[in-house]
Structures are given as structure tokens and as C-alpha cells.
Assembly symmetry: D3
Homo-oligomer: 271 residues x 6
């Protein structure tokens, strides 16, 4: 038997270095998820409209929180939700929310691996003096030495500093300039998917703060969700910026990817 | 010798389940077709600016019609135009117009096959109680048992019910999640192409009512138009929604695909 | 040792046949190039933020100039900048600026070859009676017999007249309908890259005057920049139209491609 | 002592004759109401951030309902909320929701008068054969003979038929072509304000289905809210169409007008 | 008895100094005029849906024409249409079309006066060396000494040169900085209304090439149409630029003003 | 004789509480100021295209600066520019730049009065703990006791706290809800105009971070610029947010208001 997947909003964006907005995203992704313009089946054939497929765990109240206080609130909120035993997908917020969300998962799953879809490695040791910056969560995460493996896909902006960090943390980076090994992402064990929407090309996901042309198509991300090894146990979708999202096109992409992540989790739960 | 291709507008959208607008599309597609920002050659090298290449058959007057009355009007209008012996491409309107348009063709071409480019299978036995819904035309069509073969490309939203309909009607579905067989669409005999613009990814065709991310690129559709077997004898382009089409980008896609369909028809006519 | 790459704005658009606007582009591309939403590393790992990597040569004053006078002003301005020995990338302006810019390069580099990324061949012998039209620069250029080889990529609009011109000038055209030979562009010697943003599909570069669906993705262009043979010694980026560029998405594409062109030039300079 | 104002969403738009979308509006108006880009004070100086100023009564579940069934559901839902004794402002939905919402108020307030801000009189005896059309609610309402007085402001589209209805129901119409008497709207007794956002000029409220240029400014509507006589006891804000609302500008107008309506209700409650 | 008002499209914009586009306008204004989102009554109560109220005279074929040739074609086309005795409203096109259109009227109406609504006086003796520039039509017109009186409303950009032209031609200019005399426009005899949409503030009419903030509201223009003295015998609506007109908002303004001009003409015809 | 007016960019927005972007504004306002779509005459008849009318003092380098350091840099930069004796208009940046800019003016002009056009009083004693917040500059300013009089126009968001600050600092506030005294702003002596674009209604200036409906029209602001007493000696235009400014409409408003401010300064200099 499977458990319902909990959906939890993490409306925080005060760690954004360039453009605020992602705090407004959870409501928009939910709207797209429920949109009458699409149905509730995943491409794997699972019916998310069936009773018990998922539950809405609401939004955490993060208004005005920042730094360690915000970290603690998100860590506590995600941990509380995971207490139920239900798998969880968080809706950001900017990418800084992934650090506490993943740490809460790492407490429940030994040997957790991470698949990160992103334009940016988010590995800055320090960005504008803010250790909780949305440019740094995966540096913070890897410093904990709690993560078995970090795999990054879609990267197209590595600085010299970030290349050093990649070496330091032994990260498996699949840059857009060379995707030849992307079908060889053979992982096993529990896997968490952290999906920054700017990993997609701005043509597919214009509603993000950082336009970095030359990225993944929506189809490539869907194929990735269903294609890698291991067991998907949870994840996040972050960095939707409604201020840039004319006609809600990117929210629909987020809603679609949410459905496909749910389909993969259900498939993996059922073994 | 070839005959001119007739272009006929079918401005109807009251069978749209989510967002009206396609009734405004024929005028916008014509504007894009004639736009001074492009020339009149197809990629196959045919000059649509040459005398006799095509003729504008105007728009049917469908204002205020719905249900069986609208069906009859479209069936009659398309049949009348086909009387001339000219091949015909219809400009919708929502996808509900395809059912009567195809039936009029089926009366003239024995053993007609259909290639449908679409995000959705449009096979609902019943949608909101409306048998003429734009979600159902291909169920209605296959029930007539007049169609030799239906091939669907670009599909990414099959419900359990629609999977049953696929089985029931023996449809050849090429879902976006598996396009490996798409170059093997070996058809022969007369072929009608029903092109729902939401078969394209919303990045390429944002001006549609139903954003279903993960679709075809414009190039994939052009290659498909020129690539399948059989003889293209007519078709339709449907579901352009000008309300969503900032700067007329999707109208230009429709205009381009119209030109390429015309190029294919001319090539096939000339044998 | 390498020399700084000069960036020179050529704000002219009175040779545009359809929609003015590209004269506003240099300022927008610079803004995107400097945007705090991205960093200054190329995908080849070069740091454009390093001292001496580039210099801004400002904009030429072209306001109100047209025809031969504008040609002369651009030719003189580009030649003056090349005097320094620095490689140069020009920012258009419409594509008519490429003719004088390339001629100034041809005076310095014997046996210069040209790689043109474009939806259109721009080979009209005559367009609306204007020999300097943005539809004609490569006809003018090839008539000089100063160019070793012209390679065109992304073309999808050849008229019968242009196919004749292709024959006449022995141009190597890679149409979008057949990119099978694109990885075989084996060139040697000095190479100039003329990049018309409408070579990209409008999904990736909506901010251009001529929407010609079915084009290249941003990733394909980046791969092309780093993939062909020969030594890249300069180039131009043209036809950005800010009037069509909602949220500056296409300016960011231009800024990205500018960075990658610079990375390729630096790599080639260093041997 | 004052009671909290209840805010109730009525997400229904299947009575829209032209363009669906208003069913998505309640979420957007709430988002704007709570936006961190504004504060919670009304122009009358009331602090809506104070405890007990208002409460969110959620949305009625109207998905898939239409005709008499939808009417009954809205009437029941509004009546239930009014049971608490709290004043209520409904968020549509299209204007058809106003008929049942006002009827529920008419059951509690004898001699209720209505102030309608609107581009259209909404008095069609019959529109496309749908008695519940969003073009007809005030015809239905006046037929009940339960309303003391209907005052319409902002009207600029009267047909001959509607002018007859104005006579028949003795409506006080203030057309945009003559606002000379607008400061003389001297009412007394309980007053309900039905605010169709298309009463504003499309420059101020572009996010509506029916653009009818020549309307009220936002300031004129705010002044009207605070200026008429009588006691404001409730109201509705309808016809926001998020599909047309780039950057959420009209949602912010709706949020502002909601705040000012609340300020007026609080002032009138306190006497 | 009244005659039907002829509506004639003049799709020319190659005299635009800044941004092409108005050649696409006639189709958009017709679409707005017929839009199902509004009805066919004017604010004066005339029903434009009645038989014989108007007729569509189509578009003149002006593609590729310029200078004197274009002038002659427009003059001839307008004159031909006026032969019928029907009053005529032309749909531009840029403002250069007004010169030949008005001259054709001046041949039929002695002592014709002109009311021009515009941000710009359009009185340049010479602009970029083009005597037919859209910046000069009213200089050309006044030089003919065929016009009894020219009244300009909405002007907010007079140069020193244009102030001299105002003196020279004895024009009655109502600048936006002083509208105190606008209700005193007491004219008599036949009157032609030339309506440049940039006379409105860009908030009300964003879809024009020249944004000149500080202009008229739509309501002020409607009031002007119905308020001045004399008999309205024809006119034009020019400078709509669909490239700038998101969601067709300005086309709806043009459609509304067209209806009101028609209402005024009908009223004046009936005496 | 008059001195040229210096125009200085202050690209800072890290004190924005809601949405970054104004740091990009100086370049956009300059582009609009120079746009070929308008001329260089003010409504007062001054020709800004004349030699010596103005000079561009460039942008201060404020990248990465915040708090006291940013204050000091702006204060020093403005003071340095004023050393020349030229009057100065600053282009923000967010409204936090006005505090140091005004202080630099207060050092040169005794008895300086301030006219602030704004939706918000910007008088927070403390906002999110940031004394330099863009919500607080006028509290900081009035605490210095260096300002003779502060007059605020366009205000529509006073909180109880801000009403206390108004009392404390004896500010003359003209709220939008009562503009009856706006023509009575009789000031004398040197006057500085601080123009926050959100003082305008979002219909006229959508490109700002805080949409506060119910504001001034562009015309009202122009009339205000030319209408108050005293001598205008300098000012600022702040809070343009290009991320929200589709088609650069608000930049054109800023460019227009810049021209009119310059016209007023020139008129006052000439006495």
C-alpha cells in the first residue's frame, strides 16, 4: 500500500540575490496543479485524482523570517510533516529552502543521494556574506558530509571557484555543454530530487529570476524524472517567480513536473 | 496539373471546455500567412505566391451555432468547398470542428487515414455531457467506423478512460514519453492531418487554451509533415487562442505550419 | 598573450524591411552582459571578469545615416577599432551592418571565411530597391569576391531566387530541414561569425523583427560556436528588437552568446 | 462593537458569455489583499491588520455547478455565512453570482438598496437563452420586487432593450456620458455594493473579459465607496479575469477596492 | 433618411518615422468593432447593428506604395468611395494617410473644417526629407489653403518650429497644458475628425508607436466627439500599432471611438 | 545665463522591501529621454536639444554598497556634482537614494523645502530593522531638522504610525482622498522635487514595485511641476522598476517628467 504524498509550501525568498518573487510561488503552483485545463493523470498512468494519492500540508508561515531562524522553521516544518511517514514534495520559495528540507530528509533516510536540476551549481562558499544565500545551499549541504552523492544536471555557469567546490565535494556534474553521460545516471538507494526551474531553458520556463539561456527542455526533465535509478523518496520545486511569469506558463510547467515527480514516487513506493 | 488549395475559416469555440478564443483565430492565421515579415516559399521549395497555388474560401458563418446545428453547418460548408475538387485546409476554431470537417473528407476519400498532432487524445466518450465537446471529436469520429487508421503524435495526457478508448478503436498512439517509433509512421493512401497547436510545447506555441508542457518543437512538427508516408489530401489547424498569444508568436507558428502543409499537399498532388 | 576583445555598438536599423527597433539593441545587450543575475564565466571556463579580457569601444554615432554614408561610417569605425589589434565583436543594429563590418575584417585577414547563423540567407540581389537592405548584405559581400567561404546555418526560408544565389556564390547552406552535416563544418583559417538572432527559433529568441518558426535552440548555437574548425577572429550579433522582447529574455540570450563567442575567441587566441 | 467582515470566494464563471477566467479570481484577490507591497490600512484610517477586523470564510465549492443548482449553492453558502451576523463581501466569479448573493442579503435586510458599478446594465431579459447569464442578474433581481432601489454607475453600453428595462424597473442609471448627478446619490437605509471591475476603464482594470473603454478611474470608484449615503452592509467584487491580468495589476485594484469597502463597512457599523 | 457609413481600410505605414505597424491596424479595428464582448449601440442610442447603418468598403491595396504614388492611390480610393454619397470613416495606417483622405473630402465639402485629436501637431515643414512623412500631413494640408479652420486638441509636443507653423496657418491649438477652452470649440458647417490614437494618454492607448504621456482619457475623447458644434461628415482613426497592443486593448479603444464617431455622424445626418 | 542641468544616475535598490529592479532604471530613463519617438521640447517651450541645456554626469558606482556606506557614496557623489554649480536631477534607484541626495542639496540651499510626489509617506521610524529602508527616507530627513517644509502629494496609504509621524514633523500631506487644497501649494524659496513614480496611478506608471491604485495621472503631475510656487533647484525621479515595465511605457513617463522638471528649472533659473 502507498501513502499519500504531502505537498508543503515554503514561501521564502529573502535569500534571493537578484529578484524577489518566489515566496508567491506555492499558491501559483497549486493553482496550476489543480487547473481545469489539464487532467490528473501522470505520464506513468497514475491517477492523482484518486483518493489518498496526495494531501495538501499547507504553507509554513515564514513571513519575515531569515537566516538561521528561517532555516530552523523550515527544518522543523518539514520534519514534522515527515513524521507522518508520508513522502513530501516542497514548493519553494527560492533555492535556499532546499538545505533545511534536505537535512530533514537526511535524518530519516540513511545514505541519501541528491539529484539537482539547475542552471547553477549553488556551491558558493560565500555569496554577499550570506551563508544562507540561494547561491550556496549545496555548499552548506555537502559540508555536513551527510549526503552520499550529489548529481547535478543542467549546469551552465560554473565559475573557477565552483569548479573547485565540485572537486572538493566530489560532485557528479553534467554540464549542458556535455550531456553525453546523462543516460548513465545509475543510482541506487533513496534519492531526493531538488528541481530549480532555471535548470530549464528560459524558453520553457521564463518565470524565474535568473535567465540562463541554453538549458534543458521540459521533456528532458520529465524523461530524467522517470529515467534515473534508485528510489525517489521526496523533493522540491523551487525558484518560480510569478513576477516574470506572463500567462502563468511557468507555473504550468511546475505543476506538470510536480505531477510527474508524484508519479515516480508512487511507482517507486509500489515497487 | 495541380489544383489550388482552398483555405476555409471555421470560427467556432463554444465547445471549448476551459477558455474561449479560437473563434478569433482564422483572421490571425491569415494575417500571419500574409505577413511581410516572411516570404511565400515552403521548405520544399514551392512558391505559394505563384498564381493558382491557393485560394481563400473565406470563413463559414458559425456565430451563435452549437451542437448538431454547428456540426451540420461545418459539414455542409466543407463539403461544398470540396465539391470544387480543390484540396482544403480548415482553420479553426477549437478542435470540435475537426469531426464534421473530417467526415466531409471521408465522403470523398475511401480508406482515409488520419494523422493527429495533439497533446490530448480527444477521445472522451463524454465530457461535461457535451457530445460535441472539443475533448471528444476523435471518439465521435472512430465510432463511425469510416476511418481506416488514426495515428496520434505528441500525446502526453492519457487518462485510464482514454487508454481504454485507444484499445477500443485500435489507435496508434505515439506518446511524448516514447517517440522512438515516430520515424516509422509508414502510411499509404489518402491522409488527413489534424493539427492541434497544443501538440507543440507551450514554449513554441504559448497561444493555446491548454498549456501542456513537454510537447513537440515546431521543427519536429515540420519534419513530421514532410516525413510520413501516404498522400496528404487535406487537414486542419486548430486551437490557436489569440487571447494568450502575445506579439502573435503562435499565429506565426500556425502560418508557418499552414505553408508547410500546403507544400506537402502540392508535392503529393504532383506525384 | 591575448588582447582584450573590443565590443562596439552599431545602432542602425533604417535598412529593416519590416519592423524598426534594432538600433536600441546595443544598450540592452550590454545590460544583459553585465546583469547581476549571471556571472562572467564562459562555458569554456574563461573568466570575462578578469582584467584585460575585454573593453567597451562604445557605440558608433549612426543616427540619421543611411545608404552609402552609413556603410562608410561603419566601415571606418570598425577599421579604426581593429587598428588596435584587438579582436572585435559588433552589436547591431539590423543585419545590414554586417557587410561593412565584415569588409573591414577582410582587409586585415586574408582568406577570411564566414559562418552565418540566420533564418534567412540575406542574399537578395535587390530588395525594395535598397542595395543596403538587411535582406541583402551577403549578396553584396559575395559580389566582392573577397570571402573564401560562406557557411550558412539555420536557414529555413530560401526562395527560388535565393537558391540561385546560393549556386552562384557557391555557398554551403545548412537548412533547418537537414542539419545532418552540421557537425562536419570543418573549416580552417580565420573565421568570422555573423549571428542573426532570428536563426534561433522564436521560442528561444522572441525579441526579433521576423518570427520564423522552426529554428535553432540556444544550446545548438552555443555548441556550434565551440564546435566548428578554424580560428574565430571576430563577429557580430544582430537583429535584437527590444520592442518585441518582453522581460528582456532575448537580450539575455544575446548576452550569453556574446560571452560564448568571447570564450571561443580567447581560446583560439591562446592556441 | 463591530463584527469581523467575512470574505467568501465564489469561483464560478460558466455563465460568462465571452471569456472564461473569473473562477480563478478569488485566489488572486486574496493574494493582492495580503501583498507585502502594501499595508493593511484603509484610506479612512481603519487598520485591517487589527484582530477581529475580518475573517476568511474560504471559497464555496462550485466546480461543475451551473444554472439553478449553482444559484442554490451560492444562495445557501452566502446565507450560511450571514447566519453568523458578520457582514460579508463576496469575491467572484462572474457577475452571475451577484443574484443569489444579493437575494441572501435581501432576506436579512428589509428595504435593501443596491449600488452597482458596471460598464453594463446586466439587465438582459434573456441572453443566449441562459436566464442565469452574467448579462442578466439585475433583470432577475428586479423581477423579484424585493429591492428598494437600484442605482447603476459607470454604464456605457445601453441597448434599446436595456433602456426599456431601465424604465420598467425604475432604475437610477448614471451613464458615463453624464456623471453630473453622481454626487447626488443620496440613499439611506441598508446598501449593498455590487462592483463589476469592468465599470472601471480598461486602463485602470485591464484584467477583465469585456474591455469597454471610457469608464471610471480607480479614484472615482474609491470616492464613490466613501461618498454615497446610507449604510453599507455588504457587497461583491466580480469579473476579475486573471488570463488578461499581466503582472497582477487588476488584482491589486480589486484588493484595494476590497480594503476600501471594508473600511466603509466598519465606519458604518461603528456609526 | 440616412446613408450607410462606409468604413475603408488604409493599411500604409511606410511614412512612419519610428516604428512600423499601423498597416496591420484596419484588420484589428474591424475585429474589435465586431467583438462579441461588446454590443453595437452607441452612447447616443443608435443601433449600428441595424440594417443599412454602415457598410464595409474593404481595404485599399497599398502594399509597396509610397510617396506621391501612395498619395494618389489613397486620394483616388477615398474619392471613389465618396462617389456613392455615403459618409466615410477611414482606418489607418499612419497619420500620413489623412492628407489625401481629407483632400478627397475637401473636394466634396466647401468650407470644410478639421478637428484633429493628436499628441503631435504633425506640422513639420520637412521631416527627414520626406514631404509625405507622418509628421507633416497637416503642414501639407494647410499649404493648400483649402481648409476653413484646423482645430487641434491633445497637443503636448510643440517645437519652436511647430509653434511658428501654428502662427503661419492660424491654427487653433488646445495644448494638454491648457484645456480651459476645450468646451468652447464652437464650430459650424461640415467638420472632419482626424483621430490619432496617440492623442490619448498611453495609459488608455498603449498600442501606438509614439508614447507621449500626459494625454487625453478615452472619456474625454468620447465627450469631444459628441460635444463640438458643426456637422460631422467623416473622419479617420490612425496610428494603432498592433505590435505594441497587448491583449488588443487599444484596438478596443479604436473600435469604441469608431462606434461613437458613427453615432455622431448618424445624429448629424438625421439633423 | 543658465547653467546646464546635470543628470546623475543612482543605481541602487538593495533597500527595496518588496521587489528589486530600480537599479536598472537610470539606463532606461536615459533611453526614453533620448528616444527618437519624441522631441526635446518641454511643454514650457524650452528646447533641451540646445547646447548647454543639460549634461550627463553618468552613474555613480554603487554596486554592492548598502547602509551607511551607500549613503556616504551618494551624498559624496551628489555633493561633488553640485560643486560645479549646475542644478542636478538624480535618477534612482529606489527612494532610499533621496535622503543623501537631499542632504547634499540642503548643504547648499538654506531653508530648502521639499515637494514629494508619492503613494507612500515613506516616514516609517523603522522598517524591517533597516534605517536606510526605502520606506523611511523622509523620517530620516525630517529628524535632521534641516528642512524648512515637507509637502507630500498623492499619498494614499497612511498607517496610524505614519499619521503620528506626519503630526510630529508637521508635514503638509495632500492625500488622494482629498486633493481640494492641491492648487494652494504656495511655497517660496528653493524647492526640491522628489518624485516617486508610484505616486502616479498604476494605469499611468505600471513599471513600479508597489502597485497602489487610486493615484495621480501623468497630467496631474506635469501640472503640479509647473504649478507650485518657489524656485525649483533640483530633484530626483525614483522607483522605476524595468522588470514590470512592458514596452517601456513607464520609462517614457519618467523621461517625460524629467523633461518637464528640466523645463521648470530652466524657467526658474531665468527668473
Amino acid at each position: 500500500m502507498t501513502r499519500p504524498i504531502a505537498i508543503l509550501g515554503l514561501p521564502q525568498d529573502n535569500n534571493s540575490s537578484f529578484l524577489q518573487g518566489p515566496a508567491l510561488a506555492p499558491a501559483r503552483i497549486r493553482e496550476a496543479f489543480h487547473s481545469a485545463s489539464a487532467n490528473m493523470f501522470t505520464e506513468t498512468g497514475h491517477d492523482l485524482g484518486a483518493d489518498g494519492a496526495w494531501r495538501d500540508a499547507g504553507d509554513l508561515l515564514l513571513d519575515g523570517l531569515s537566516g538561521q531562524v528561517a532555516y530552523d522553521a523550515i527544518y522543523a516544518g518539514v520534519s514534522d510533516t515527515l513524521e507522518s511517514g508520508d513522502p513530501l514534495i516542497s514548493l519553494g520559495g527560492d533555492h535556499s529552502v532546499a538545505f533545511p528540507a534536505i537535512m530533514a530528509h537526511a535524518d530519516r533516510y540513511e545514505d541519501l543521494s541528491i539529484l539537482q536540476v539547475d542552471a547553477h551549481a549553488d556551491l558558493y562558499d560565500d555569496f554577499d556574506g550570506n551563508p544562507f544565500s540561494h547561491a550556496s545551499p549545496f555548499a552548506r549541504l555537502m559540508e555536513t558530509e551527510r549526503i552520499r552523492k550529489l548529481v547535478q544536471v543542467g549546469i551552465r555557469t560554473l565559475t573557477a571557484h565552483q569548479r573547485e567546490q565540485v572537486e572538493r565535494f566530489n560532485i557528479d556534474v553534467h554540464e549542458m555543454s556535455d550531456l553525453s553521460r546523462i543516460n548513465d545516471i545509475h543510482l541506487d538507494g533513496p534519492m531526493y530530487l531538488s528541481l530549480d526551474l532555471d535548470g530549464l531553458d528560459p524558453a520553457f520556463a521564463p518565470g524565474v529570476g535568473h535567465h540562463e539561456p541554453g538549458g534543458l527542455s521540459t521533456r528532458m526533465v520529465i524523461d530524467l524524472i522517470h529515467g534515473f535509478g534508485g528510489q525517489l523518496i521526496g523533493g522540491d520545486i523551487v525558484e518560480l517567480n510569478p513576477h516574470r511569469d506572463l500567462h502563468g506558463m511557468t507555473a504550468m510547467v511546475a505543476g506538470k513536473l510536480l505531477k510527474e515527480m508524484m508519479g515516480r514516487i508512487i511507482k517507486d513506493m509500489r515497487g
